[in-house]
């Protein structure tokens, strides 16, 4: 689960992580009200969306007055922000975060995540932060420093102190760095996070460290341990179609092609997309029916596909396994087709568990479709259908 900056900062402040004073606002007047309560006379107004790259996309504004804050909030709220991490459709701004401007002598990059290769929690950092960190790391991987941690947050080898030095912290900043790392690691482990990223971490003129921006992602699989995190979930950030699919035990991503795709299992779905694209086809969606989906869930998922006007043909490629069988999927498709007026040409390829029974069910529902023998055959047949539709 992705958190907004204001939610992440609220959570980290409870661990004593040094942050600029600030608060969230949903309207221009509320934003001005927040600014009036803040120290100093320069303010930062930041669009709250689940993506990085906001600065380069114009989602962060620095202003010199409380009326400037109101104006900046007015411009940002309701705007659709497109950054290099949102995808072309962008993200609608529903809230802004207003905080005191902190001037930075140097920007550091700092993050904690779980390293897949070692299976350990890793603290990573770079002496110079900023939104171009990826480009610079691609040019020179040695700028990224890593410290691997044991499950209890203690370094496997090396120390937080040595890591602080690697980030070029000196003098009193070393102790402040160590204290910050320990607080972040605590916050990471106690809240079952999968990512905390501070970019930038400012080194101020008074030799303080301040976390200017925070990105935080919580592990969905651990939410059962944190009932209090439930209200942090921002459903507005999710595509409504994808959200409905999630509720139907289906992973679904909208795409801009004309072939509806129904597959069970992420690997088979990815491979189906590869074959379809190689044959010159364009998928209208990515669909992975989970092993836990019931036939009614599947019917709901198929409804989503039928409600997409761009869909000219549907490819159903299912390999029935030990947990998700062909007949369950056939039943879901049958129920959905019965309640939809639309008729779309369909190619069905069933293999594995209960494949023959799946076909029997589809025929019993009175659905006309093209039966394919294998994956290659299925791709050829659906491409032929799309070409006929286009003609």
């Amino acid at each position: 689960m992705n958190l907004h900056e204001y939610q992440a900062k609220d959570l980290l402040s409870r661990y004593g992580v040094p942050l600029p004073a600030g608060d969230v606002a949903q309207s221009p007047s509320a934003a001005e009200g927040v600014a009036r309560r803040l120290p100093g006379d320069r303010y930062v107004v930041k669009a709250q969306v689940h993506a990085g790259g906001r600065g380069r996309a114009g989602g962060i504004k620095i202003v010199d007055s409380v009326t400037g804050v109101r104006q900046a909030a007015d411009e940002l709220l309701g705007q659709t922000l497109v950054t290099d991490q949102t995808g072309p459709e962008g993200r609608s701004v529903q809230a802004v975060y207003v905080e005191e401007a902190v001037s930075s002598e140097r920007d550091i990059y700092l993050a904690i995540l779980v390293d897949r290769q070692t299976g350990r929690v890793a603290l990573i950092g770079a002496q110079q932060g900023g939104e171009d960190i990826e480009e610079r790391a691609a040019a020179d991987a040695s700028i990224v420093k890593t410290l691997l941690l044991k499950p209890d947050g203690i370094p496997v080898e090396g120390s937080f102190k040595a890591f602080a030095r690697k980030l070029d912290l000196t003098g009193p900043l070393i102790a402040k760095g160590v204290s910050l790392f320990e607080k972040l690691v605590n916050a990471f482990i106690e809240s079952d996070a999968s990512l905390i990223e501070i970019n930038p971490l400012a080194v101020t003129a008074d030799n303080d460290l301040v976390a200017l921006d925070v990105k935080m992602v919580l592990d969905d699989n651990a939410l059962f341990r944190h009932p209090d995190f439930k209200n942090l979930h921002d459903r507005d950030e999710l595509d409504p179609v994808e959200l409905q699919a999630q509720e139907n035990e289906i992973n679904y991503v909208r795409m801009d092609g004309d072939i509806g795709v129904v597959v069970n299992g992420a690997g088979l779905a990815l491979a189906t997309h590869d074959m379809l694209s190689d044959a010159g086809g364009t998928p209208a969606n990515f669909m992975d029916i989970r092993t836990t989906a019931t036939s009614l869930d599947i019917a709901g998922g198929f409804d989503l596909l039928m409600s997409n006007p761009n869909v000219k043909a549907v490819l159903i490629n299912v390999h029935g396994g030990g947990m998700q069988r062909c007949d369950t999927i056939a039943e879901g498709v049958g129920v959905s087709m019965k309640r939809n007026d639309r008729t779309v040409p369909i190619v069905v390829r069933f293999a594995g568990n209960n494949a023959a029974y799946g076909h029997t069910l589809l025929r019993n529902y009175g659905i006309s479709y093209v039966e394919a023998q294998d994956m290659g055959d299925a791709i050829e047949r659906v491409m032929a259908l799309v070409r006929t539709e286009a003609a």
Binding site: A122, D192, F224, N264, F286
Partner: protein
């Protein structure tokens, strides 16, 4: 021979009395798997599916000499179940459970270090040695005893490739699903090592996909340890929908960056034959075997 499991493997099931576990264990027994007991704290001394239930893995192992365990325990207790099996020194452990918290897997990974256990999973369909031992939840219909070792990150693609290699007359020595979670037990490298040492395996198929680092690590390994057996790989996701993401960190770790094409390039450079799609995996393997004269 095969790898990890065979006809001699004595299996216990952790979480045996649950509904899903009962369903799958009954099928494993019908398949011919030697199931010798189950574990369910508080139900020790009872019987389920005609085998004895024990309070702990340690009890089960000392009473039955079990050599493998399959775990069907809810996500909240799955890590403790894995660690219990590791501490009882069960040689092969499969965890089927989906949605285990990643920091729990960090604890399990720590417990695995220097242990005597090969963990497969979590979120794994398990290990299958055709007609000998089914330690998993995979469908069985198309598998045939044979010469191809399959290691995979995807359950449905495995079924697909199993059916194809059977139709091509090659069959399988063992198939291993390493599971779909970011932190998991054994990976491609460990399975390749086992398959290379197994006299019954004459060819190895890797079924990979975008994300993670399994394919790159396999490529690194195969570069140094020249395989005398042909290795064929399928990497799914060349045309995956673009991923939305938060922040930069995911791309800053050593292996965070690779997409399907980069994985394919790394595997090719290590002498692996790439099948362009699942439909051509068996054919690619047959050609590789002919070229090597095996």
């Amino acid at each position: 021979m095969a790898i990890l499991v065979g006809p001699e493997t004595a299996v216990i099931c952790q979480g045996m009395t649950g509904r899903a576990a009962s369903y799958h264990i009954e099928r494993a027994m019908a398949y011919g798997t030697r199931v010798v007991g189950g574990v369910r704290p508080g139900k020790g001394g009872t019987h389920h599916l005609d085998v004895p239930i024990f309070d702990s893995v340690r009890d089960a192992v000392s009473e039955t000499s079990a050599s493998a365990s399959i775990i069907f325990v809810p996500p909240s207790n799955a890590a403790d179940a894995m660690i219990e099996a590791i501490e009882a020194e069960v040689p092969v452990v499969v965890c089927v459970t989906e949605r285990v918290p990643v920091l729990d897997m960090v604890r399990v990974k720590d417990a695995l270090e220097g242990s005597k256990t090969s963990l497969i999973g979590p979120n794994s369909q398990g290990v299958l040695t055709p007609k000998a031992c089914k330690l998993g939840v995979m469908a069985t219909a198309h598998e045939r005893p044979g010469s191809i070792g399959i290691v995979s990150r995807s359950a449905t693609l495995t079924s697909e490739i199993v059916a194809q290699t059977s139709a091509a007359g090659l069959g399988q020595s063992t198939t291993v699903g390493i599971g779909g979670d970011p932190v998991h037990g054994i990976g491609f490298v460990e399975c390749i090592e086992l398959f290379m040492d197994d006299p019954e395996t004459h060819g190895i198929i890797l079924i990979g996909e975008i994300g993670g680092a399994e394919e790159e690590m396999a490529a690194d390994y195969l570069k140094s340890a020249k395989s005398a057996k042909p290795v064929v790989a399928l990497v799914a996701g060349r045309h995956a929908p673009p991923e939305r993401r938060m922040g930069h960190a995911g791309t800053l770790t050593l292996f965070g960056r690779a997409d399907a094409n980069q994985k394919i390039k790394a595997l090719r450079a290590a002498g692996v034959q790439i099948a362009p799609n699942p439909h051509q995996v068996a054919e690619t393997m047959r050609q590789s075997m002919n070229n090597l004269g095996t």
